[in-house]
Symmetry: C2
């Protein structure tokens, strides 16, 4: 039924042969037959491109189809589907994707930075040229969350989507809890194991990676344009082993959550560490696992969990995009036509409201606790719980305060005074409690 | 791009106006506009059918398009897509689906009994007539698990799929643990809340419902024909409050699991109660929630969790099937062509191996424990743990034994002797430990 005998060969190009591109290249060769059975189409890799032609690689590449400059491919080869696996938000990544779409070549990419930044214009370009732009692998690795939102939950009214979207940071937080090792030690371990991005792990740690994914999830869940608003983004760099231990005593766990929801008709997107109860589902998503939770009507709460990173899971999603294209469907990249996707006003971050965990390192002197509680009272931040732990030897003390709900602006204004107070040794650590 | 101005109206018939059919009817009317935006197609409900035309219903129906006999619809109306919501494994359900497919009408159904029994022949019929047969809602309500296996994980080699596939039994087990009420009490509550099938809850309780879903999951996961083999199927009817309490002390929880896996190239499918650790993911899927876990290569373990029953979640899946059809894709019902789906030999149930929980109710007399342990020793079933609780007042005792791994046949042969032994008051309760 899906057969089209006269024209059942599809030519493929892979741009970028790093961890993901190379793994994909190998998988495509291994799964040729299976793909033909499932789609009725034969695939043929006609071009590959990377910076370095001669570098030693885990899988052997066919140098006869190697291009140093990927932009030259289209003039020499007929390409039906291009995989962009370089991963820049601009630069060659953007150029090659644009050129492909303009040449009526379908594009598949795991590049969340590119989609979060240029997804709207690229989607328009794809629609104009009647080709597909697919990016399942850009969010949560092997978890088919985008397809689930676009298709499986297509007619649900989604009001919230959130989850653990970065495997590296989740691994670090879990490992700190399990081994009582410091952030720096565990980060080194993560890099050794290949979880943290090789080289600069900053984009994982500071929340940027999770944030790009949240922007993509928002656009798909709410049928909106990708937001450009300034957002509340915090990473895990300031989470200390001490915080994890105290959380543990309180029955809580630190998780870096990405959250996107519609509040009063406005879009609120954020990434920050949260304290979640150990009894909750999200509190038990540990290690490198990712999980995405959607709240929709009529479906209720849906959870998808799986391995969020690494070439295996990513390749699984890239191939699911490939099959979707080979099966001959032209789809709107964001589920509906670009012309129907609306812009949405951003919710004011200042009004975001949470219970807070505040950890103060103070001099062990009389009057310091009342200084803090008075300051909180002045901003009408009421205290739910105080845990004071003296460190007599160093004449210091740790004061942890769990507050009732308060707004961001209130908390921020309240805490400024502690930037320079001789009795408060460091600016306090703030972690929001989730729900 | 998806527009087809000349012919963008699709006529719809809904057969069966019970809980699900009626809810769907209402949703389709409410979401007409949204469906048009997402697919470029207008939908038009041209026929509905149920046993009773005049019955009082939650939503008002259009009596002008009502048919008492659904088989008459095709001669009077042009139908593009038919929803079968009656739910029989044979009878009218089978007849109307066959007639629709032969008339080149696409079919969408949540009917697991029908698909588990006749899915292979119906899929062939759909392929022959070049129309779709979609049944996402037949497994795990609102969780888009079939689409995920067919598309999201399409090129993974799945070796195992398992999970909690029946919300009613999971609700009963959870509620027994939380309230310490008996099976019968909690079942009544479940029926009041509408979780247990109205009327006869037997198909939920005895594992049959979960089993139909496992057969469908197997076929999709392993690209095989639906198995007809005799399978190990046990429900929760024999689980006593006592078992749940003892499990609790051992850090375990009783869950009714459906499991399908390839063992030595053979298919093993089963549904039975399991004791799972409270620390595991599956041990924390509680209440009416469903969860499906797939183990695949290269993607690793994927989890999908969500509300498994009720008209809301079911309708979400029915509409996702509708959108898939409206977007114009003709797909193989089981992901690949029927001609490519192979039959697979069944694994011998006798060789299935587990650690066992055995609960004996015995007379509180000397020698009874050694009678039991000797019998176990004779079958080389080694004991990991024994918990003996005397009930002096009634001159009884409960002996719980956790064994090391043993085969089904071994356990069965070993236990036969206890069918008639004057010191063993009841045939022992056996619950398998999961992993």
């Amino acid at each position: 039924m899906l057969m089209n005998k006269s024209n059942n060969i599809r030519n493929i190009a892979i741009i970028g042969l790093g961890q993901i591109g190379l793994y994909l290249y190998n998988e495509l060769k291994l799964k040729k037959k299976e793909i033909e059975i499932k789609t009725g189409k034969k695939i043929n890799i006609v071009a590959i491109s990377a910076k370095n032609k001669t570098k030693k690689r885990r899988f052997k590449i066919d140098k006869k189809i190697f291009y140093s400059n990927p932009l030259n491919i289209f003039s020499e080869k007929k390409v039906d589907i291009l995989f962009e696996c370089i991963g820049q938000s601009d630069g060659v990544s953007k150029k090659i994707v644009e050129k492909a779409l303009k040449n009526k070549v379908n594009v598949i990419t795991p590049n969340k930075a590119l989609i979060a930044k240029h997804g709207d214009t690229l989607a328009k370009l794809a629609e104009k040229n009647n080709v597909n732009l697919e990016f399942e692998a850009s969010v949560a690795g092997g978890i088919p969350i985008l397809r689930t939102i676009k298709e499986g939950l297509a007619t649900n009214k989604i009001k919230k989507v959130y989850g653990i979207l970065n495997g590296t940071t989740n691994y670090i937080l879990t490992e700190m809890e399990n081994t009582s090792e410091t952030f720096d030690r565990v980060l080194q371990k993560a890099q050794k194991l290949g979880y943290a991005e090789p080289g600069n792990p900053k984009l994982d740690l500071n929340g940027f990676d999770a944030f790009a994914k949240i922007r993509i999830l928002s656009a798909l869940s709410f049928n909106t344009k990708i937001s450009k608003a300034n957002c509340l983004m915090e990473g895990i760099e300031n989470i200390k082993l001490e915080d994890i231990k105290i959380a543990n005593q309180l029955g809580l766990r630190v998780k870096l959550l990405g959250i996107s929801e519609i509040i009063n008709g406005q879009l609120f997107e954020t990434v920050h560490p949260c304290l979640v109860s150990k009894n909750t589902y999200i509190g038990n998503v540990n290690g490198v696992m990712n999980a995405v939770i959607t709240e929709g009507k009529p479906v209720g709460e849906s959870v998808l969990q799986g391995e969020g990173a690494g070439p295996g899971p990513t390749s699984s999603s890239l191939l699911s995009d490939l099959l979707s294209i080979l099966r001959g469907n032209i789809k709107y990249p964001f589920g509906i036509s670009s012309s129907k996707r609306r812009s949405i006003k951003a919710f004011n971050n200042d009004d975001y409201t949470n219970s807070l965990y505040l950890r103060f390192e103070v001099k062990d002197k009389q009057g310091v606790l009342s200084l803090i509680t008075n300051r909180l009272a002045k901003y009408k931040i009421s205290v739910k719980r105080i845990i004071q732990t003296p460190d007599k030897k160093n004449k210091k003390a740790t004061i942890v305060i769990i507050t009732h709900r308060t707004t961001e602006i209130n908390a921020r204004n309240c805490l400024t005074i502690f930037k320079k107070n001789k009795n408060v040794l460091k600016f306090p650590t703030l972690i929001r409690l989730y729900n």
